[in-house]
Amino acid sequence: MPEQQVKFFQTGSFAVGNRLLDPEQRSVQARMERSNSLTCGHRACQGCGEALGARFALDAAMRATDGNLIAANATGCLEVFSTPYPESSWQLPWIHSLFGNAPAVASGVAAALRAKGRTDVRVVGQAGDGGTVDIGFACLSGMFERGDDVLFICYDNEAYMNTGVQRSAATPPAARTANTKPLGDQPGNVFGQGKNVPLIALAHELPYVATATVAELRDLEAKVERAMDFHGPRYIHIFVPCPLGWGSASRDTVRIARLVKETGLFPVFEAEHGEVVGVSKIRRRVPVEEYLKLQRRYAHLFRPRRRDDVIARLQAIADRNVERFGLLTDPDQAAAMPGEATDLAGLEAGADEPPERAAEETNLMRLLSETHGSPR
């Protein structure tokens, strides 16, 4: 049989096709015995980053615990799309109580298991950014402080998507949401202090804290599995694009998640007991503009007139992250930022989004512009 050399599109990462790998190196998702914790049939939108992230995270946690896992979920998209009456997509014991209490419910489950001597069963709490950084924050802080044996996962899509895309404390500056519209001279969401929960978790010196994106799913799986090696409070913050809320094409979810890391806007790192032990280096640095352009929530920065002032401030945030977290392997990388990433998305560097791309928007995206007004 003639030999065919396989070329991996990406090198130096875990993003290679699973079935080309040795079985032991395959991802959890590529294994026959994957648990499908969040199984098919749910009602997530096309290209939902949260559904992707939750599926990978929970299956990895299920693998790490040999299926002895209980999940406590906050109110939000993940809860709503997974349990439309009379169906449930959850194939693990799962409870949803309220929007703001998932960490406390998870802590209660963990306490009960401890009282019952069920040390074999582990607990995951999960919420979107609203349920984590805003309404659930007090409960999360209590869970951290008490040292409860819970892995808490935040699926961060940077706004309240379930209620119609309103701003949360995790919404980035300049982003358009339903209540941070670029009206008048305002560039969308304010440039505020922000609330960086991964760093807050780090300051608690938790046994394990990590950030991840749905672009590097092997990395996400590895982090969840690593988190389950520890006991006590652990925190993973996953960047999950939302095509509906961000006005991005469903097919660009993974691309956008890759770009957010490659720009430096979302540093991907992991920390143990308060010390950063690993950083995902930027492989091919790109200017933030390449990331912004794929999302209509930033369209007002480019049309009707370019807001170079605002783009520069966003670039400064990325630059600070790059420096602070040491995101570059080679400092010379900082000099050249060719926008190859969006070239790969079929866009010319520096060019406007072509009209046919907008036409590719899903029905849900059309619904968004109908309900929340034109981004122009």
């Binding site: 209980i70 009282a115 019952k116 001597g117």
Partner: protein, 419 residues
């Protein structure tokens, strides 16, 4: 065994003998001594296995109880006043999901103005939260109701609130017969959850329900409360057989057989009311009292039966619906619809104001002489002069300042300012 003991300590020790596996609590007066007692018992290992969770809020306390109960543990908490309001969202969730959590409520007023003393505005504000509400008259009854509460909660799979008057009961030292561990174990079986988070048999708890079945799920909550109307007397009767004393039940009539006037109340004030009834009876008045022991589910038939033959009913209540009237009174009227008794609503004992025998005697004299207008909300011992003065200030100026400060200044509690 009989002991001279503080109400809170008695409750703490009794709850411990009910073997809760998770206790989650946040401090608020006057509940603190109860959970401090439980914390001690967990630390010394007397209550074991049990996880005592020091949570960061009442909202987290109830949420942790929800998680613990869902994982199959017997869960307990205690709170009061603002704490109950802060957990309000989780209260409805616990009852909606059907978790048999037991909570002691050390009844206390709700601000503003902030006030730590006893009344029933906290429990009454949550009367429609889907929780069963039992009201203790004495510390002995508070102890006994906790035993019954766990049994009841787990039998109907609904949460139960045991309401005991803050300070008046929680901080009072009196003789209490504490049930022994063996007696409790015989009375209260091991908790067998109706639904449990178990990896061996995964279930989804708390799924979304739309218009197609929401009414049915809510109806089931109501059906379980109606079922509790049968369970409560049955559990009280079983308790009485085992422990040789009467505690709990739905209602407790006192000298109502031939009564023309019946006084209705909840909680510790019943003792004072019964003393006054005795005194008036001695003078020839045909008066009695009805203690409502269980306010949710509302024992409509029992109230109707107990009050239906009277001429007048006086409801003494430690809370009211601002802008509407009495709360218990409205429920009493519902039970009496179509029957002759006139119902008088009297608000008393707000924010810890003592309800004295003298005031009650004056009130009942007015009632017996038909001097009390039935369609009006009455306030026992209301200082009308104080109220009139503040109303006048409001009429006079655009900016009279805070009510509480003005009234305290009138009373001489706050030093006179330059207002």
């Amino acid at each position: 065994m009989l002991e001279q003991i503080e109400g809170s300590a008695a409750v703490a020790r009794t709850v411990a003998r009910c073997r809760p596996e998770v206790v989650a609590a946040y401090p608020i007066s006057p509940q603190t001594h109860i959970v401090e007692g439980l914390s001690d018992l967990v630390r010394t290992g007397e209550l074991e296995p049990c996880e005592y969770m020091m949570v960061e809020s009442e909202f987290a306390a109830m949420s942790a109880c929800i998680g613990a109960s869902a994982a199959g543990a017997r869960a307990y908490t205690a709170t009061a006043s603002q704490g109950l309001l802060y957990m309000a969202e989780a209260l409805f969730n616990a009852s909606g999901l059907g978790f048999p959590i037991v909570m002691t409520l050390a009844n206390r007023a709700i601000g503003a103005p902030i006030n730590i003393w006893n009344d029933h505005s906290d429990s009454m504000s949550q009367r429609d939260s889907g929780w069963i509400q039992l009201y203790a008259e004495t510390n002995q009854e508070a102890v006994d109701l906790h035993l019954q509460a766990f049994k009841l909660a787990e039998r109907v799979s609904l949460p139960v609130m045991v309401c005991m008057d803050g300070f008046i009961l929680t901080h009072a030292y009196e003789e209490v017969d504490l049930p022994a561990q063996e007696q409790v174990d015989e009375f209260l079986p091991t908790y067998e959850p109706r639904q449990v988070l178990d990896p061996a048999e995964p279930v989804t708890i708390g799924a979304m329900v739309g218009p197609e079945a929401f009414s049915e799920v809510k109806y089931l909550m109501h059906a379980k409360q109606m079922q509790a109307l049968d369970e409560i007397p049955s559990i009280a009767s079983e308790f009485s057989d085992r422990f040789g004393r009467d505690s709990g039940g739905l209602v407790r009539p006192y000298r109502t057989d031939d009564a023309e006037t019946i006084v209705v109340a909840l909680g510790s004030v019943l003792g004072t009311i019964e003393d006054v009834v005795d005194e008036l009876r001695a003078g020839g008045a045909r008066i009695g009292a009805l203690g409502v022991k269980c306010f949710r589910p509302y024992p409509l038939d029992e109230v109707r039966e107990a009050l239906g033959g009277a001429e007048r009913v006086v409801v003494i209540e430690k809370a009211f619906a601002v802008g509407a009237g009495g709360i218990v009174g409205q429920n009493v009227r519902l039970a009496l619809s179509g029957l002759p008794p006139r119902v008088h609503d009297v608000v008393a004992g707000l924010g810890g104001r003592p309800i004295t025998r003298q005031s009650l005697l004056g009130l009942f004299d007015d009632v017996l002489a038909d001097r009390l207008e039935p369609r009006q909300l009455h306030f026992l011992d209301l200082n009308r002069e104080l109220v009139e003065r503040e109303l006048e200030r409001m009429q006079k100026g655009r900016r009279p300042g805070p009510h509480a400060e003005n009234i305290l200044r009138d009373l001489g509690v706050v030093a006179a300012g330059s207002h």
